[in-house]
Symmetry: C2
Subunit: 358 residues, 2 copies
């Protein structure tokens, strides 16, 4: 015989606005007004209602009822399509999320995270959650069905880099043009033999030299566009695919690219700052000095924690992207139209690029 649980929660007696009104001797309408402050109530009445609430232990209007009645829940959904720990390994995503929080601040709304929980049997379905709007970050078309359902329900949506389908406003950046800028910078320094380390081309995240097969199976636009930008300047550029955006992966790719002195490029275009930091690490392991022996260009413009170099990189407006998405959502919720935005990245010339050794 096992003992009964010591105590159960949720046994709090439900007090409703009606109870409070009755206790205060006013109508429910008046009590409601006293709480919302959105109507004319005499101070005396208001105080009486608040006192009654206090006596009964009433904690304010039930958000569920309020949201049904008002048609708004005060919640904005954010879809990430990865596990929390994977999504937040990417500093750009974190900054974007931060900007988003800022962009919707005026709504006083919370951010409801939709991620892969690791339990395939328990998917939180986007379309049974009480959201006022949804922002998709880096999502694949696999959400098409749910996206469609949300659109039918009139829920405003915005996508940040991804192709969720539907006619959803998109927030994008100039991946190709920006990378081309970085490549041109290298060419203007005199580099002829340049290699690139790319982001994964698809979810399976193969690692190694880029093959036509990998390229034709690509689902990640960012990697493809940045590669195009590099090819605009160096058409036959050698490419090494990383399995993720991390220093560790950059190290591995860097080793693969730099190990053989005979085939060693004089410069590397990394598709992210983390990858660039790894490439620099690999160079240092081999006794190479950056930028004297190897030039390295990154992408993102984040501060890589612990990296001592001032990295030459394409600075993308990560926070602004999120904020723009948030502002678009706010606009749509107020009944206005909202369009996407295509942001521009800037070349920051730091101290990791220089002319090649003669």
């Amino acid at each position: 015989m096992s003992p009964e649980p010591a105590a159960t929660t949720g046994a709090v007696p439900r007090v409703t606005l009606a109870d409070v009104a009755a206790h205060a001797g006013v109508s429910a309408s008046t009590a409601s007004l006293a709480f919302s402050g959105s109507g004319p109530v005499s101070d005396a009445t208001k105080e009486r209602v608040l006192a009654a609430a206090d006596e009964l232990g009433y904690a304010g209007p039930d958000p569920r009822a309020r949201s049904l009645r008002r048609g708004r829940s005060g919640i904005v959904g954010v879809v990430l399509e990865e596990r929390v720990r994977a999504a937040f390994l990417d500093p750009v995503k974190i900054q974007t999320l931060d900007g988003l929080a800022e962009g919707i601040a005026s709504l006083g709304a919370g951010l409801l995270l939709f991620t892969d929980s690791g339990d395939p049997a328990a998917p939180v379905s986007l379309d049974t959650a009480p959201v006022d709007a949804v922002v998709l970050i880096g999502c694949s078309p696999k959400f098409f069905r749910q996206v469609e359902a949300l659109q039918r329900r009139g829920i405003p949506m915005v996508a940040i880099e991804g192709a969720p389908g539907g006619d959803i406003p998109e927030i994008t950046i100039d991946n190709r043009e920006a990378t081309r800028l970085g490549a041109e910078h290298l060419r203007s320094l005199g580099h002829e033999d340049v290699a690139t380390v790319t982001l994964p081309f698809e979810a399976s995240r193969a690692r190694g030299p880029l093959t036509p097969e990998i390229e034709s199976a690509a689902t990640v636009d960012t990697a493809v566009e940045r590669l195009r930008g590099a090819r605009d300047v160096y058409p036959g550029i050698r490419a090494q695919v990383a399995a993720a955006s991390s220093i560790e992966e950059g190290l591995e790719a860097g080793r693969a690219l730099l190990a053989d002195a005979a085939t060693r490029p004089t410069a590397v275009i990394a598709q992210s700052d983390l990858l660039a930091a790894g490439v620099i690490g690999a160079a240092e392991e081999l006794g190479l000095e950056v930028p004297r022996d190897l030039s390295v260009v990154g992408f993102d413009g984040i501060r890589v924690d612990g990296l001592q170099h001032d990295l030459t990189t394409l600075v993308q407006p990560s926070v602004a992207k999120g904020r723009a998405a948030g502002e678009a959502v706010v606009r749509m919720l107020s009944g206005q139209a909202a369009a996407g935005t295509d942001f521009t990245s800037e070349l920051h010339v730091g101290e990791t690029t220089a002319p090649p050794r003669a």
Copy 2:
């Protein structure tokens, strides 16, 4: 005269379950059953309802109405008390959040993030959000009022390392004992002259040598407890306070501690792995070799991206903490009692500790 907006959103005509039912020629109850699948409906009827829904463009029951009626919203609130970018700089927090997502997976609930949006005028108030439960991560007592309101409403709460007030189950780890273990390891190797790099002691995040003033104004238990653990073994230990848990801060603190060869300790106890990585970097800058010239102990047991050393550290169960919180929430929501958990960390002896040079 400015032009009208091109198009407004939200103009979708609202289709309700009643419309669908009418269209299918059944009652609302039956239509409801057809969607929820929780009652006996003939296949023929079900199909008719679904077909009607399709024709009318009905995307399924409105989550707001459903949550009012059912008394559950399917949302678990997570309070972080920082900006998104600050909170997610900490790998331990990310892992904890990941574990939490896992722990509540069976609920099929989403995680509603409450963070500082940067806009003080627009605080998302915890107590007007439709949450079924709330998990506080590293929160200060400043939430006491809201916490109380939630308790009055019978909303289950769990705290992970923090002192939100109230009689909320807490998930904690053995900060003091674990650090003591690390210190004992150093002592057993023969170290006499040991210093420590601590986490911030309060929100203002002063940086520099630890003073009695800083210590007495401490609000962050973690830093205090880990310091105590170090003092259990090295009572007069010299302490340098970092302004955050990062490699960069570890570098700074490391430089301060190691620059002067005359006062240089033979070992450093860092209160986080990121700080430890920074201390190692500082040592290497000075031409010191780890562990030959300096032993370094970390805390957390995360993989520091790009760190080449196998760090000696106290491995805390970050993911398990989150999962435990999630499971406690699930239990409470099913009406059972839930207690807190105090987790134990383990000493991992890597390759960054060795006997001091003779």
